[in-house]
């Protein structure tokens, strides 16, 4: 019991969990509750594989400091500082794009991440020219298998299925592989009674795969629905950009919907809307703040706070007894 207590004590931090001033016995009880929140069976471990989350960093050949330009204020920031700051510009606070791997590392407790086993082979239903070369190149460049990185990890000691979409992989577009992985993640989470934390970043359905990419919308939404009917907790964080077929499926079906400051979120792209209505769109249209004021986002959370807020949300939901 004590070992158990210290185990969670170290990882969560008593102060952060609001447990300061509790008696030892109460804390111990709390720790056991935490320990049992995610059960581990051999079946569970079969679904995952241990990996080290790799971040691809491009080194300058001459060894000089690489500078990254902020997309908003155009300030030149050394890459090290940018990395430490989770790609948030220290000058203007703009949330620049962050790679899926880096985001995953920023969320999970060190050493707790295990990747979801779900190999989807390359498919090209439309025989779209040069599609395979493009995918292979992107896999090489980004270190991702496809547009989404999924696995189980702990956030302040609380186990969750975490999915991060990578806008660096063909705009995070959803084809068969992304749809299959997301659906599988919800099914595994359902089976193991894990909450799902999803970071979306996508231009929508992957055009190159035609109608089958459209069908992924139905497939993923159905998986969310089933998971939700079984009482599963689904937290979504909408990041820049979340549009099209992804925003019109699993991205907007969360129990809790968070968004990153300044993220573009919508169904149709701004260019298409402008062409359709024949007028200029108002400032900040389809931004996270705009959505919040129209009632489609619970809270806007800066990237630096994200881990804490998600941890808090997991804590707020852990006492629920799930019913199947």
């Amino acid at each position: 019991m004590y070992a158990c207590f210290f185990y969670s004590y170290r990882r969560i931090g008593v102060r952060e969990m609001g447990l300061l001033g509790k008696t030892k016995a109460e804390l111990a009880k709390y720790a056991t509750v935490l320990k049992h929140s995610g059960k581990e069976t051999s079946e569970f471990t079969d679904d995952f594989e241990p990996v080290v989350i790799k971040e691809r960093t491009e080194k300058q050949e001459d060894g000089s400091v690489q500078m990254i330009t902020c997309t908003s204020c155009k300030a030149e920031i050394p890459s090290g500082i940018m990395k430490k700051n989770l790609c948030v510009c220290p000058e203007c606070g703009a949330h620049n794009k962050i790679s899926a791997a880096r985001r995953m590392r920023s969320m999970v407790d060190p050493g707790t991440f295990r990747k979801l086993k779900c190999k989807v082979p390359f498919v090209n239903p439309l025989d779209y020219p040069d599609y395979e070369e493009k995918i292979l190149k992107l896999q090489e460049k980004t270190g991702l298998e496809e547009g989404v990185l999924i696995g189980v990890g702990e956030i302040y000691g609380q186990k969750a299925m975490i999915a991060v979409m990578g806008s660096e992989f063909l705009m995070g577009s959803m084809g068969i592989a992304v749809g299959e992985k997301v659906t599988h993640a919800f099914e595994v989470a359902d089976k193991n009674r894990l909450p799902v934390v999803m970071f979306t970043a996508s231009g929508g359905a992957r055009m190159q795969e035609g109608i089958l990419s459209l069908m992924q919308m139905a497939k993923t939404s159905a998986a969310v629905q089933r998971f939700s009917e079984h009482g599963g907790l689904y937290i979504v964080c909408l990041t820049h950009p979340t549009t099209g077929g992804v925003s019109a499926s699993f991205a907007t079906l969360g129990d809790i919907t968070l968004a990153e400051p300044g993220a573009l979120i919508g169904f149709a792209g701004p260019r298409v809307i402008e062409q359709t209505i024949g007028q200029k769109l108002p400032e900040g249209f389809q931004s996270a703040e705009y959505l919040e004021s129209h009632g489609f986002v619970d809270q806007i959370v800066p990237r630096s706070e994200m881990r804490k807020v998600v941890g808090q949300l997991l804590k707020l939901h852990e006492r629920k007894r799930w019913s199947l």
Partner: protein, 320 residues
């Protein structure tokens, strides 16, 4: 090619109509005979259509609209309006009706026959309110155990300012999710063009049928060309590549069956198509009548869950 044929057929029909006004005119009778045989020849040229031709036919203004199908196939139709939240969206049309004596909920995208009607129905492009109305009707159908029949014919969800403000993405997503778990049978028929999530939002069905010359795709060929090649003029090239015809989609198991059209499109002889749809609906409803409510939801879930399983398996084998 189809455009010229179609226009010529229309001219012929107009001429025949004008000539048939004249009675006891031998010359007119001869001319009518000539025109009729020309029309027949033209229609026979429509036997092998390209995907671009099919897109043209799918969007044809004389193609039957959702209200035509409802009038032809159902009795005692009671129209339902409004999403009971904020607005009535006329681009979704539907209500309760009897089908061979069985109460059903029937709904679909509504396009107009002329520019005025189209302005009124927003060219069959729903706003979130339309999808919420559809969901309201479908939830009600579930409550009263009515099968749901939907007719899909839309260029896509409306990409407008207010539509975005009112949560277009959310409205579509909700429909997809809720439809997947409804405990009554759902049968969808793609009658014209089915584009993007705007079509799928009322298309998560146990059985999906498609008219022979209808098209169903991830987005319009123009949009496809515009996004991938930054050139919307290359749409006919996109039509070829996108595999959006009923025949292609049958191979992907996206649809369960193809409803045959008369040569030259449904509008040449709509009654034939109505009869065909009637037969299919009777068959399908009889099939689903035997299934328990939970089994119906599971059937639909599995249909979409494993739709691409065949393709994935084939690719795995190829790699191995």
């Amino acid at each position: 090619m189809i455009r010229e044929i179609d226009e010529r057929i229309r001219e012929i029909e107009e001429e025949i109509e004008a000539l048939s006004m004249k009675t006891d005119d031998y010359a007119a009778d001869v001319r009518i005979k000539e025109l009729k045989s020309e029309k027949k020849k033209l229609l026979h040229q429509c036997e092998n259509l390209t995907p671009a031709d099919k897109v043209y036919l799918a969007r044809h203004k004389n193609r039957p609209k959702v209200d035509d199908y409802i009038n032809a196939l159902f009795d005692e139709f009671f129209v339902q309006r409004g999403d009971f939240l904020s607005k009535e969206d006329k681009s979704i049309y539907g209500g309760i009706a009897l089908f061979h004596g069985i109460p059903v909920t029937v709904l679909g995208h509504r396009k107009g026959r002329n520019i005025n009607e189209n302005m009124e129905y927003n060219f069959g492009m729903p706003e979130p309110e339309g999808y919420r109305k559809a969901l309201r009707m479908m939830k009600q159908a579930e409550k009263f155990g009515r099968p749901i029949i939907t007719f899909i014919d839309t260029p896509g969800a409306y990409p407008g300012l207010e539509a975005e403000e009112h949560g277009q993405a959310n409205a579509i997503a909700k429909n997809l999710a809720e439809m997947s778990s409804l405990k009554v049978p759902i049968i969808a028929i793609v009658t014209g063009e089915g584009s993007s999530g705007g079509a799928l939002a009322i298309g998560v069905a146990n059985s999906v049928y498609m008219l022979e010359n209808a098209v169903y795709s991830v987005l319009s060929p123009e949009g496809f060309a515009s996004i991938l090649w930054k050139d919307s003029n290359r749409s006919s090239e996109a039509c070829e590549l996108m595999k959006l015809t009923a025949q292609d989609l049958k191979q992907y198991h996206v649809i369960d069956g193809i409803i045959k059209e008369p040569l030259g499109g449904v509008h040449q002889n709509p009654n034939k198509v109505y009869r065909e749809i009637d037969t299919i609906l009777v068959q399908e409803l009889a099939k689903y009548k035997k299934m328990m409510p939970d089994a119906l939801a599971k059937n639909r879930y599995d249909k979409f869950r494993y739709m691409d399983a065949g393709i994935i398996e084939a690719a795995k084998k190829e790699n191995a």
